[in-house]
Amino acid sequence: MRMRIIAALAFLMAPAGGAMAQDAAPLLHSHWSFDGIFGTYDDAAAQRGFQIYSQICSACHSMKYMAYRNLAGIGLSKAQIKAVAAAVTVPGGLDDQGKEIERPGRPSDQFKSPFPNDKAAEAAMGGALPPDQSLLVSARDGGPNYIYSLMQGYVTPPPGVKVPDGHYYNKYFPGHMIAMPPPLTANAVTYADGTKATLAQEAHDVATFLTYTSYPNLDEQHRLGVKVMLFLIFMTIVTYIAKRRIWADAH
């Protein structure tokens, strides 16, 4: 698989060449608000991405490790989260008679999956299991840029390439033959905030949301990281000065 082992500290730089043999096109790159050490999620983009997920992706893809309460991280209010959760029904355990019951979702519930299990999903999707989306960005080389590219990568296959039934040609997908039909087109959704829904905009927004679902703590990670780094740099200076003073009489 597109393996990238990077041992840092100038150890090894090895984008495993042979494994890239599936000749996927170089990825498109978008500007991501969460890049860099001060990066934070663009809540508006993530919310638009959540809208795409709810209206399109969630028809086939599960998102097992996200709970509705996690939507607070992209700026949804408590009332909004309650409303989102209440729109689904989930198994509610057993009633007094021992019968299985259903109840409306709560913020603490995990995102409801479109299929009862993987087997059912595979059967409904012609044998290809739509991958769970909670970790999709973290499980693909290129991360958000991969999703961003894939969404825009459906093109007419080059002459002579035969696309098997139930598959589509995508120039960014390893091997090119992808079972997922083109999920996004321009104006596939009508954004609640009035943003113009071009294909690139949709791809950017859904990639932002999927990055959030992979790394829900990224904002805090960066915030805390800056403080920790400043502290350690300060301590390096302090200990170095102490070292010079203590060693002054040893030479």
Binding site: A7, K64, A139, A248, H251
Partner: protein, 427 residues
């Protein structure tokens, strides 16, 4: 002083009462306070302390991870996500732990290089060195089993490939592998025992580290000149001189570690380990973590599986006998004009092996891997004994103090250039 009590010299009556019955305070004072330490350490001598601190941080974070982790093949992956998403600062603890493994290997590899370059494995420190090699082996086993626990695709297939190496052993190989697995493939019993051993082995490492330190405190530390301590003028008390010097290195090291944790926590990992283990779907490439790549390259550079496995273990085993392979009486490479080139070349060779280990073994990569593997063993088995016999070492300084203390020019022969204290140490 009653018979059977230790003669403590502590002034504080409470501490003294304890110390006369359990002289740990005096012991610490002796071994880490006044302990006479060569005065000419450079920053390479930080790395033992850094490794100790890393071990403690790994154990501390590991204990907290184990409180939230579930060692069951159907729940392990989800429990790691639970740590990453629901546990307060779980993401921080896990990122510290998983990057800590890489930091541990970086520190220990530099520590080993220090030993190779300055001849710290030679008389009288052979056993000290061998205990270090035991620690390295234990670390490798621990890291390997720890990588299996998240039960992602690379966890599962890495475990499958590595445990399968034992099947290369003639006659009993298959039996051994099934015994390791607790079944006929990597599965829940494998995960359970790996979790158990991953929790146990770090404490075994602590034990061997203790022996490593005991052995060190008998022979005393080597130093960049590689010559023996002649008297008090050659040493400084460990505290405060080296406690403060180690602190400087520790702060820099923690800053590097933190940079990984907060800004590139997944850089050293493999993306496909974020896909749950699937025994029915083999990844196109099964590649170990970066710190195993050189050994993986040695394994793959031999067409015969059994020989490959043997050679891989021999690459560590050769370190055990290094004290007897090196025929030179001079420890430090500063005074060994030929060997001082060979040791950095060995490092280059190991980097090449790492590069080979990360790539598909085809064409030029295979050739490169074989040459680098050959060089690795030639270095230890041929160059090291021969160079020791034929090399003319530079004249050694008479004592550590002579080249370091500049203001007392009495005594001491010609001062070797490299031995003069660095300007930064002349505050």
């Amino acid at each position: 002083m009653a018979a059977g009590l230790f003669k403590s010299e502590l002034k504080n009556p409470v501490l003294r009462w304890v110390d006369t019955r359990l002289p740990v305070i005096t012991l610490m004072q002796k071994e880490y306070g006044t302990f006479p330490t060569p005065r000419n350490f450079n920053y390479f001598w930080n790395f033992g302390a850094l490794a100790t601190v890393t071990l403690l941080i790994m154990i501390a974070t590991g204990v907290f991870l184990a409180m939230h982790y579930t060692p069951n093949s159907t729940m392990a992956f989800a429990s790691v996500q639970h740590i990453m998403r629901d546990v307060n600062y779980g993401w921080l603890i896990r990122y510290v732990h998983m990057n800590g493994a890489s930091m541990f290997f970086i520190v220990v590899y530099i520590h080993i290089y220090r030993g190779l370059y300055y001849g710290s494995y030679k008389f009288p420190r052979e056993l000290l060195w061998m205990l270090g090699v035991v620690i390295l082996l234990l670390m490798m086993a621990t890291a390997f089993m720890g990588y299996v626990l998240p039960w992602g695709q690379m966890s599962f297939w890495g475990a499958t490939v590595i445990t399968n190496l034992f099947s290369a052993i003639p006659v009993v190989g298959t039996t051994i592998v099934q015994w390791l697995w607790g079944g006929f493939s990597v599965g829940n019993p494998t995960l359970n025992r790996f979790f158990s051993l991953h929790y146990l082995l770090p404490f075994v490492i602590v034990g061997v580290v203790f022996l490593h330190v005991v052995a060190l405190h008998i022979t005393g530390s080597n130093n960049p000149l590689g010559i023996d301590v002649k008297g008090p003028q050659d040493t400084l008390p460990f505290h405060p001189y080296y406690t403060v010097k180690d602190s400087v290195g520790l702060c820099v090291f923690l800053a590097i570690w933190a940079a990984f944790v907060f800004f590139m926590p997944n850089l050293l990992g493999d993306v496909i380990n974020n896909i749950p283990a699937n025994p029915l779907h083999t990844p196109a490439d099964v590649v170990p973590e970066w710190y195993f790549l050189p050994f993986y390259a040695i394994l793959r550079s031999v067409p015969n599986k059994f020989m490959g496995v043997m050679l891989m273990f021999a690459s560590i085993g050769v370190l055990f006998v290094l004290p007897w392979l090196d025929t030179s009486p001079v420890r430090s490479c500063r005074f060994r004009p030929i060997y001082r080139i060979l040791v950095p070349l060995l490092v280059v060779d190991v980097f090449v092996l790492g590069y080979v280990g990360a790539h598909h073994p085809q064409g030029f990569i295979i050739l490169l891997g074989r040459v680098a593997t050959a060089w690795y063993f030639l270095h230890f088995l041929v160059f090291t004994p021969l160079v020791g016999l034929f090399e003319t070492p530079l004249p050694l300084p008479e004592s550590i103090a002579a080249p370091v203390v500049r203001k007392s020019p009495s005594g001491g022969g010609p001062i070797p250039g490299g031995a003069v204290a660095k300007p930064m140490e002349n505050a």
